[in-house]
């Protein structure tokens, strides 16, 4: 996957960007543990200059949901 979301995930999780897909989740990515999850949130907020609510963060269990949440905040080039 290409794009800014994939870049953030790749950098924070230390996973090759081509292995990041919409279905990437904590269930299929051991690097996405509870420590990394919050590093991801902070990195996404900084990269896209958005503020995520607790409910949005807790709901972000796949890359697809992350992109969906960003879309609701007006991010079009995720």
């Amino acid at each position: 996957m290409s794009g800014r979301v994939a870049k953030v995930f790749s950098e924070v999780l230390g996973v090759d960007a081509v292995r990041i897909t919409d279905d990437t989740s904590p269930d299929n990515t051991p690097q996405w543990d509870s420590m990394a999850a919050m590093n991801l949130v902070v990195a996404i907020e900084d990269e896209f200059d958005v503020r995520l609510s607790t409910a949005e963060i807790v709901s972000m269990r796949t890359v697809a949901v992350v992109k969906k949440v960003l879309a609701t905040k007006g991010v079009v080039d995720a």
Binding site: M38, V42, T54, A55, V58
Partner: protein, 486 residues
């Protein structure tokens, strides 16, 4: 009627046959709901009202939240539903403890309330459902019978696994056809669970009960051995129960999440809690730890440490009302944080010493086990003060003296035989512990009974069945599952 009782297995056999005789859909739903309520009434009688109340609050609360747009009134509704669903847990489980802590005397009618079996389990399942609906992760269930079955489903109602609405509710279409493979898979899980409970857990429970029942008179080495026996007893007991529950559900065409994944091979406390009572630890992770971490995400290490300590302390309190459970949870929090923040230093130390990876893995597993077993003493003792007796003796020089005297007497008949009834009277129990460890190592490496050939299957089943049958017949009263009291 415990899940390991022959009576339960007879009951389940009847439900299983009726389930596949009925056409799919509502008739099966009604059957399972009736069986679940009948099973629970048989267990607790009138306290079934509590189960029905929790299911009703989950249904009404979830439906109300689904209809409301995000905003203040939805928030108030969610908090009201959450308080209503947690109220029985507070009243039945924690009121006595809270009143004691506040030096308030409760009236007799409140003080005498019994804890309905499985209250902590089905309350957490229903609470998780409500939170998922509130977060928009799950659509509220419209059919009250389906939601009723989610909360009351008989294989899970007494001690979990604590299931999620998003996983269980979609499976309640209940249209599966009878499948020999699936039935056999479920039967295998029930069989392994029975062997773990009746053969392993109930055997290991005897010596540990002797010491924990009278810790004052046990010598340090007996205390250490009882502590180890209890850790394996609890594992065999709860993992055995979980397999029976998962196997029953599987035979009815319903997949339930696993509850244990070789926890005693874990390389640290954080990994341990990802493999031990997984349905509870994942619940705490998703509904407590993650929201707290999200809230404090920019507070660096302080946020991480606070979220971990609070989550583990509440996980401890979930187990019971008493200071021993508060300390039990908090201690695991401290160990988890320490493990996370010292990992790179420990890795560097092993690398500097040139310790082979295989040896490092064994050392880490052993240390993790002993840390768990030590904290678990708090879970098992009848009084907090008894835990002090264990810790004082296990970390005293008297322990080494016991070992020295025991070895001297056993090998060279030096001095008097030390009074170690647990060490000397239950040495055969170590074979059970060895079998559990070997079984877990094989399972971790992909060797399971499911993958053995037919002849191995037959041998294992015949031996296991004979052992379970013998123990059933020789025991007039089967000990209940340890987690039934929650």
């Amino acid at each position: 009627m415990s899940l390991s009782d022959p009576a339960f297995l007879g009951f389940f056999a009847v439900v299983f046959v009726l389930f596949y005789l009925l056409p799919g859909g509502t008739s099966r739903l009604v059957l399972l709901l009736s069986a679940s309520l009948g099973f629970y009434v048989k267990l607790v009688g009138g306290y079934t009202a509590v189960l029905l109340y929790v299911a009703a609050v989950a249904y009404v609360g979830g439906s109300a939240l689904q209809r409301m747009a995000a905003g203040r009134s939805r928030g108030v509704t969610f908090i009201a539903a959450l308080l209503a669903i947690l109220a029985p847990l507070v009243v039945f489980k924690y009121l006595g403890f809270l009143a004691d802590a506040a030096h308030i005397e409760l009236p007799g009618s409140l003080a005498d309330l019994a804890l309905p079996v499985g209250l902590s389990f089905f309350t957490f399942a229903a609470t998780g459902y409500l939170i998922d609906v509130n977060l928009g992760l799950l659509e509220a269930e419209r059919n009250p019978l389906r939601l009723g079955l989610f909360v009351t489903f008989f294989p899970l109602v007494t001690a979990g696994p604590i299931e999620r609405g998003g996983r269980l509710l979609p499976q309640f279409d209940l249209n599966p056809r009878m499948s020999a493979d699936r039935a056999f898979d479920g039967l295998r899980l029930i069989f392994i669970g029975l062997v773990l409970k009746v053969l392993f857990a109930d055997t290991l429970a005897v010596p540990s009960a002797e010491v924990f029942g009278d810790p004052e008179s046990a010598l340090p080495l007996d205390k250490l051995v009882a502590m180890i026996f209890f850790a394996f007893d609890l594992y065999a007991d709860f993992a055995g129960y979980s397999l029976i529950a998962i196997g029953c559900a599987k035979m009815l065409g319903i997949d339930v999440q696993p509850n244990f994944r070789q926890p005693f091979l874990s390389q640290g406390i954080p990994e341990f809690w990802r493999t031990w009572h997984m349905s509870l630890s994942f619940w705490v992770r998703d509904y407590l730890f993650m929201p707290l971490r999200a809230k404090w995400r920019r507070s660096g290490h302080r946020g991480m440490i606070a979220a971990t300590l609070i989550s583990f302390t509440i996980l401890g309190i979930w187990h019971g009302a008493g200071w021993q459970f508060v300390i039990y949870g908090f201690a695991f929090g401290v160990l988890a944080v320490s493990s996370l923040y010292t990992l790179k230093y420990r890795d560097a130390a092993y690398a500097r010493l040139g310790v082979p990876q295989a040896v490092v893995r064994v050392i880490r597993a052993v240390i993790t086990f002993f840390l768990f077993a030590l904290v678990l003493v708090l879970f098992r003792v009848n009084y907090l003060g008894d835990a002090w007796l264990f810790y004082r003796d296990i970390f005293s020089l008297d322990l080494l003296r016991n070992i020295w005297d025991g070895v001297g007497y056993a090998l060279f008949r030096l001095g008097d035989a030390p009074e170690l009834p647990i060490v000397t009277g239950y040495w055969a129990d170590w074979f059970l512990i060895g079998a559990i460890v070997v079984g877990d190592i094989l399972a971790r490496n992909g060797v399971t009974l499911a993958k053995c050939g037919r002849s191995m299957h037959a041998v294992a089943y015949n031996l296991g069945f004979a052992a379970v049958l013998y123990l059933w017949m020789s025991s007039s009263v089967a000990p209940p599952f340890l987690y039934y009291k929650f």
